[in-house]
Amino acid sequence: MTAVETDILREEMLSPAVSNTVQPRTAAALAPDVPRIIGRRTTDEFASYLGSALAALALVWVVYCGVLAFSGTLGFIVCWWLAFIALYGLISAMSNPRPIVADRLVSVVVLSAAMLVGLALLSTILHIFHKGWPALHHLNFYTQDMSGVRPTAALTEGGILHAIVGSGIEVGIAVAISLPLGVATAVYLTEVGGRLSRIVRTVVEAMTALPDILAGLFVYTVLIISFHAERTGLTAALALVVTIIPIIARSAEVVLRVVPGGLREASLALGASQSQTVRRVVLPTARSGLATALILGIARIAGETAPLLIVSSATTYFNSDPLHGQMNSLPLFIISSVRSGQKQAIIRGYGAAALLLTLVLGLFVLTRFLARDKAARR
C-alpha cells in the first residue's frame, strides 16, 4: 500500500460519517438505530441540478418552439423533463463515477413520479371545486330540490337537498346495519374462533374482491326482480350493506387483532367473563382504530356509485321516507347530471361532487385527529 492510499484510508476512518456508524454500538448501545444522513446535497450536485434545469429549458425552448415549431404545453414540459434528465446525467458524469450518476438520476425520476401523483390529486380537487363553485355559493343549492325545475334552469333555482337527504338516509341505514354486523363478525373471528371462523374469514376475505356493481346487481335480481320489491331508499341501503360488510368486517378484524393478548389475559385473570372482557377491555382499547375504520367505511359508502346505479334511480323530488318511493343520492345525482350534457346541470353535478368531496375530506381529517389523539396519549 502506498503512502497516499494509507493517508486516504486514515482520513476515511476519521471522517465523522464512518465513526458515526461504528462508534454507537459501544457508546450508546441502547440508543435506537439512526441512519446516517446521506441525502444532503453537495454544492456540486446542487449546481449541476440547477444548471441542467436551466440549460434544458433554454435548449427545449429554442429547439421546440424555434427549430421544430411544435406546440402544446404538455409536449413542452415532457421534452423539458427529458432534456433535463439527459443533461443532468451528462454533467454529473463529467466529474463523478457511474454509481453516483445513477443515484442522482434515480432520485430525480423518483421525485418526479411523486410530484406527478401529488399534481393529479391537487388537479382533481381544484378542478372539482373550481367547476362546482358557481353552484356552491347559492344558498338554494342546499335548501331546495329539483322537482319542477328544468335541468337548464338558472342556478338560483333548484338544488340538491333531495340528494343530500337521500344520501344521508341511505348511508345512515347502511351504517346502522353493517357496522354492528361487521364488528360482531370481527369479534367472532378474533375472540371466539373455532373451525367455522376459518370458513367465515375465508369467505369474507374473498367477498372483498366482489366488484361493487355485482352487489347492486345481486340485490336488484333478488329483491326487485324475484320478490317484486319496490325500489326504495331501503333497497339502495341494502345494496350498500352488501358492498360494505366484508370491508368493515375485515378492517375491524385487523384492528382487533392488534389488541395485546396480555390485556385480555389480565382481564380474565381478574375474574371477568369473556363477554365482559370484550365489552370492557378489547373494544375500548381498539376504540380509535374502530372509529377510523368506521369513518373510512362511511366515506367509502357515501361515494359508492355503482350499486346505486342499479337499485335506485335519479329522481328530482324530495323524499325522506326510506320505505316508500324512490330516493336520489349524491353520487347518483352527480353521474346523471354530468352525463345529461346540459350546461347548468353539469355545473350542479360538479357542485354535488364538490360537496361529496368536502364530506370525504372532512371525514378524512377527522380520522387524522383521532390518530393524533391516540399518538399523544401514548
Binding site: H127, I334, I335, V338, G349
Partner: protein, 340 residues
C-alpha cells in the same frame, strides 16, 4: 426405618388430595349467550356473503346451458338476435386493467420509494396521509375529472403515439393520424384513456402496500449497504427492493383486482363497441362492469342471468388476483424475503 401404616395411608391420601384442582370454571351463562350470538352473526354474514357467490354461480348454469360455450367466444351482445357473448367484453376489461397497471405500476413503485426512502422526515407522514386520502376519494370524482380534464389532453398523447410508434400494433388507429385536420373523436373514449383514469385510482392502493413493506426493510441491512459504500440508489437496489419484492407484487396484484372491477370511471369515459381489438388508442371499448351498468335496465330474465354470469366471471378473475396478492403480501410481511 418404616412408617406406620396410618402414616403411609395419610401420605397416600395427601398425594391423592394434591392433584391439581381443575381451574377451568367452564363458561358462564352470559358467556354462552355472548359466544352464541356472536357466532350467530358470524354465521349470518357467512350465509349472506356466501349466498352472493353461490347465487352468481347458480345463475351461470342456465346461461351456459342456453348459449353453450359460445357464450365465452361470442363477441357481440345483441339481445334482439339472441347473440350474447362475453369474449369482447372480457378482452376490453383486461385491456383497460392492464393499461392502468402499465401506467400505474411504475408511478406507484417510484412514489412508494420516494415516501419511504427519499422524503424528508417532516414531510413523510403528510405524504402518507395524502396517499390515504387519494384512496378515499370516490371513483366518480376521478371519473368526471378524467372525462373533463384528462381526456382533452390525452388525445394529443394518443395521436403522438399513433404517429410515431404505430409499428407496435397496440398503438395503431383506424384513422390517418397524419391528416392535417385530424379527427379528435377517433381518439376519445378509448381504452387507453379509461386505463389512465383507472391508473390514478389504483396508484394509492398499490403505493400504500409497497410503502408499508419498504418501511419494514431491516435497518441493519441498510446500514450495512451504506457501510460498504453504496449510494442511496445502490442501497435501495440491493436491500429495499429485494426485501420488498413480495409487497411490490402483492400491491400490484391488489391494484389489478381493483382495476378489473372498476365501473363508474370507465362508464363515464368509454363509448361502447363490441369487438376484440388491441388498438387501445382508438375510440370505443367495453368492460364487464360497464356492460352490466348500461344494460341491466332493459334486460329480460335470460339476459339478466347472462349479465350475472359475466359478473361471475369477473368476480372469479378478481378473486384469483386478490388471493395471489394476499399470498405475496403475507409472505413478505413474515420476513421470509429478507435474504431473497
Amino acid at each position: 426405618m418404616t412408617l406406620p401404616t396410618e402414616e403411609l395411608e395419610r401420605l397416600e391420601l395427601e398425594e391423592w388430595l394434591d392433584k391439581p384442582r381443575s381451574i377451568d370454571p367452564g363458561l358462564s351463562t352470559a358467556d354462552h349467550v355472548f359466544r352464541g350470538s356472536v357466532r350467530l352473526i358470524g354465521g349470518f354474514v357467512l350465509v349472506m356473503t356466501g349466498a352472493i357467490g353461490l347465487f352468481l354461480g347458480y345463475q351461470a348454469i342456465p346461461t351456459v346451458g342456453h348459449y353453450g360455450l359460445r357464450f365465452f367466444t361470442e363477441t357481440q351482445w345483441q339481445p334482439s338476435t339472441d347473440h350474447i357473448g362475453i369474449a369482447a367484453v372480457l378482452v376490453g376489461t383486461i385491456e383497460v386493467a392492464l393499461t392502468a397497471l402499465a401506467i400505474g405500476f411504475p408511478i406507484a413503485l417510484l412514489t412508494a420509494l420516494y415516501i419511504s426512502e427519499y422524503a424528508p422526515s417532516w414531510l413523510k407522514s403528510t405524504l402518507i396521509s395524502m396517499i390515504d386520502l387519494m384512496a378515499a376519494i370516490p371513483s366518480i370524482i376521478y371519473g368526471i375529472w378524467g372525462a373533463a380534464i384528462l381526456q382533452p389532453k390525452t388525445i394529443y398523447l394518443s395521436r403522438w403515439l399513433s404517429q410515431h410508434v404505430a409499428w407496435i400494433p397496440l398503438f395503431k388507429v383506424d384513422t390517418d393520424p397524419n391528416a392535417a385536420s385530424w379527427a379528435k373523436s377517433a381518439y376519445t373514449s378509448s381504452a387507453f384513456i379509461a386505463g389512465i383514469v383507472v391508473a390514478i385510482m389504483v396508484v394509492p392502493l398499490a403505493c400504500a402496500v409497497m410503502r408499508g413493506v419498504f418501511d419494514q426493510a431491516p435497518i441493519g441491512e441498510r446500514e450495512a449497504a451504506y457501510a460498504l459504500g453504496a449510494t442511496r440508489w445502490g442501497m435501495i437496489r440491493s436491500v429495499v427492493i429485494p426485501f420488498g419484492r413480495g409487497g411490490i407484487i402483492g400491491g400490484t396484484m391488489l391494484a389489478l383486482g381493483r382495476a378489473l372491477g372498476e365501473t363508474v370511471a370507465v362508464l363515464l369515459i368509454i363509448s361502447t363497441t363490441y369487438d376484440i381489438k388491441i388498438k387501445i388508442l382508438s375510440a370505443g371499448t367495453q368492460t364487464t362492469s360497464a356492460l352490466i351498468a348500461s344494460l341491466f335496465g332493459e334486460a329480460t330474465k335470460r339476459q339478466l342471468s347472462a349479465l350475472l354470469t359475466a359478473g361471475f366471471v369477473l368476480f372469479l378473475m378478481t378473486l384469483a388476483v386478490n388471493t395471489v396478492a394476499a399470498v405475496f403480501v403475507n409472505r413478505s410481511r413474515s420476513g421470509a424475503g429478507t435474504d431473497a
